[in-house]
């Protein structure tokens, strides 16, 4: 078991180094240097330009810049934003809870609706519910989520006036950030109505971000359940006279869940990619919109650090899913 964990975990190291190199090289290829971008229309004298380049170490050979970058990362230093002058890791830490709150709520939404729907579709295979669900989930899977967001805003915010259009909290409330999760912070604060406001702001982005995972989870649960329901031990359980709920809920679900757990873990990448679009539409102050802004401002360190952190996150979650899979299913431990 320990051997399996160590082998699998050691594979992460070269990938991590590769991600560092990739993010470093990609960023250097972006045209226009950050000093010029920062000065913008005002212009800058060549002397001052050279001085600033030197100050940020941008005039050294590329390999030296990369070597010092790896050294810094090893110490947890991801550089300082050229625009805001604050450490990248600090900016990430400040914005990440917003993305995490949105992402968790989206995945929860997807599981709460996708899992039962997939189970029922599998048990009632070929029924109208099954066909309907498969049609809906393929539609959800094909959805351009930025348009889906606009459509939901059109219906629920503009036509019905039920939900706010953007942001995380109405401007009339001030909630002191303690956990960074606005729902929890709002509950702990004395502001009345803040929790309600935070919840209302969260609903539409959650649906938008959760739609594709919902479709994937429903489809995966259905096909995995169908496979398990054909197994001999299910027939045995039925033959013993066990009720439907016991057979499906206890015997089948437990085994059918293994691939579903994997698929849920693999949604992390989809979620972070979707967060870029969702956060842009709803002006959600998370890392998705932060990264897009950093590209427009050519803020190298932010982009570099952000990519590194996002990729590491995806990698670690995938590793965790793999390990969990190994624990759940002893057959794949080699």
């Amino acid at each position: 078991m320990l051997r399996f964990i160590l082998t699998r975990a050691s594979l992460v190291v070269p990938t991590f180094l590769g991600i560092m190199l990739l993010s470093f090289v990609l960023i250097r290829l972006v045209p226009g240097d950050p000093i010029e971008v920062r000065m913008g229309e005002r212009g800058i004298t060549p002397e001052r330009h050279a001085q600033l380049l030197h100050q940020f170490g941008l005039d050294r050979p590329l390999w030296q810049q990369f070597a010092s970058y790896v050294g810094q990362v090893a110490q947890g230093d991801l550089g300082v934003s050229i625009i805001t002058k604050s450490p990248v890791i600090k900016e990430f830490a400040a914005l990440f809870p917003a993305t995490l709150e949105l992402g968790l709520s989206a995945i929860l939404f997807a599981i709460v609706f996708g899992l039962p729907a997939g189970i029922v579709a599998a048990v009632r295979r070929g029924s109208a519910f099954d066909h309907g669900l498969m049609g809906i989930s393929l539609t959800g899977y094909s959805m351009p989520i930025f348009w889906w967001g606009l459509l939901l805003i059109l219906l629920f915010s503009v036509q019905l006036g039920w939900t706010p259009v953007s942001g995380r909290l109405s401007a009339m409330y001030f909630v002191e950030p303690k956990t960074g999760f606005l729902l929890i912070d709002a509950l702990m604060s004395d502001e009345k109505g803040a929790f309600r406001s935070a919840l209302r702001h969260l609903i539409l982005p959650t649906i938008v971000l959760g739609t594709i995972p919902l479709a994937v989870i429903a489809r995966m649960t259905r096909s995995s359940m169908l496979e398990v329901l054909n197994e001999d031990y299910i027939r045995t359980a039925r033959a013993k006279g066990l009720g439907v709920f016991r057979v499906v809920g206890l015997h089948a679900l437990r085994n059918a869940l293994i691939p579903v757990v994997t698929v849920i873990g693999l949604q992390v990448g989809t979620l972070l990619g979707g967060a870029i679009l969702t956060e842009t539409i709803f002006s959600w102050p998370g890392i998705g919109s932060w990264l897009v802004e950093s590209i427009n401002r050519r803020d190298y360190p932010v982009l570099q650090g952000g990519i590194l952190l996002v990729a590491s996150l995806v990698m670690l979650v995938n590793l965790a899913v793999d390990l969990l899979y190994g624990v759940l299913n002893p057959r794949i431990r080699r």
């Binding site: 990938t15 393929l138 539609t139 094909s142 959805m143 059109l154 990448g269 990619g273």
Partner: protein, 294 residues
């Protein structure tokens, strides 16, 4: 009374695939929609009532015909008076071109890389597959955004970016199927007969790896259209006045209060096209992979 015995050949492999493909109603519906969109794309110049970029200054934000508009602009006009129906029709052409180019690029490059990894093993294999793993660790949209930031915004660069992002899927698939084919006896006998590496790769093994690659290509088409539209929406893909569907949605949030038609139609066009390709891809997978058949 002698019954005539005719020589009926067994159905060929293509006929067999076609037969099981047509059993799947969704897949056929997808195919029909795709053919229709392709026709619209080809005949865009004939079908479109107006030029996609001409601005009718006296007809700004005209609603669709059933919501108080006129037949001269059946689906209404946008904020600078361009005919939305004509833009959608020309957008179909762009989406089909985007899909074809992206799929061709990533299919060819991915197949070559995947086959090379499977054949040459060792360092080549490790280098290629590690690179693909790294690319897969980044959310594809983020990677595409970074690539567009490097190359500069625009339709062509967006297509390159999306091709690079979809590359790992084709590479992994090609490698996996080539690996399993390489253990077969026909490959060994072909090698013994003196076939060189290139011949083995492309003439002997590749034809037997095609089925999963074709399915992935169909699904890749829908991904390409979605990703390119997302880039357009973020202002990084096709630039105005190009009538690309995602680009059409880019500035539409500000009109959401007074002109729902500007927001609704382009996204609907994306959804229908992507859905059609996904339906057809699912059908093809079932038809080409006998193991999944009921």
């Amino acid at each position: 009374m002698s019954a005539e015995i005719r020589d009926v050949p067994p159905p060929g492999p293509l006929a067999d695939v076609w037969a099981s493909f047509t059993e799947n109603k969704g897949a056929v519906a997808g195919l029909v929609v795709i053919v229709a969109i392709a026709l619209v794309a080809i005949l865009a110049d004939v079908l479109a009532p107006h030029s996609p970029i001409e601005q009718y200054r006296d007809a700004l934000l005209v609603p669709p015909v059933w919501a108080g508009g006129s037949w001269s602009h059946p689906l209404g006009t946008d904020d600078i008076g361009r005919d939305i129906l004509s833009r959608l029709i020309h957008g179909a052409r762009l989406s089909m071109i985007i899909g074809s180019i992206v799929v061709t690029l990533s299919l060819v490059a991915g197949t070559v890389l995947g086959l090379a990894a499977a054949f040459f093993k060792g360092v080549t294999d490790i280098a290629i597959m590690r690179l693909m793993d790294i690319m897969l660790a980044l959310p594809s949209l983020l990677l595409a955004i970074v690539i567009v930031a490097i190359l500069g915004p625009g339709l062509f660069n967006a297509m390159i970016a999306v091709s690079i992002v979809t590359l790992p899927h084709f590479t992994r698939l090609a490698r996996a199927s080539a690996m399993s084919e390489l253990t077969r006896e026909y490959v060994a006998s072909s090698r013994l007969a003196g076939a060189g590496s290139l011949r083995l790769m492309f003439m002997t093994v590749l034809p037997n790896c095609l089925a999963p690659l074709i399915v992935q290509a169909t699904l890749g088409f829908s991904n390409a259209i979605l990703d390119a539209a997302a880039l357009g929406f973020l202002g990084l893909g096709a630039q105005p006045p190009t009538p690309e569907w995602g680009t059409m949605l880019a500035g539409s949030l500000q009109f959401i209060q007074r002109a729902w038609w500007v927001v609704s139609f382009p996204g609907f066009a994306i959804l229908v096209t992507v859905l059609a390709f996904n339906l057809m891809g699912d059908g093809l997978r079932d038809a080409l992979d006998p193991k999944l058949k009921r």
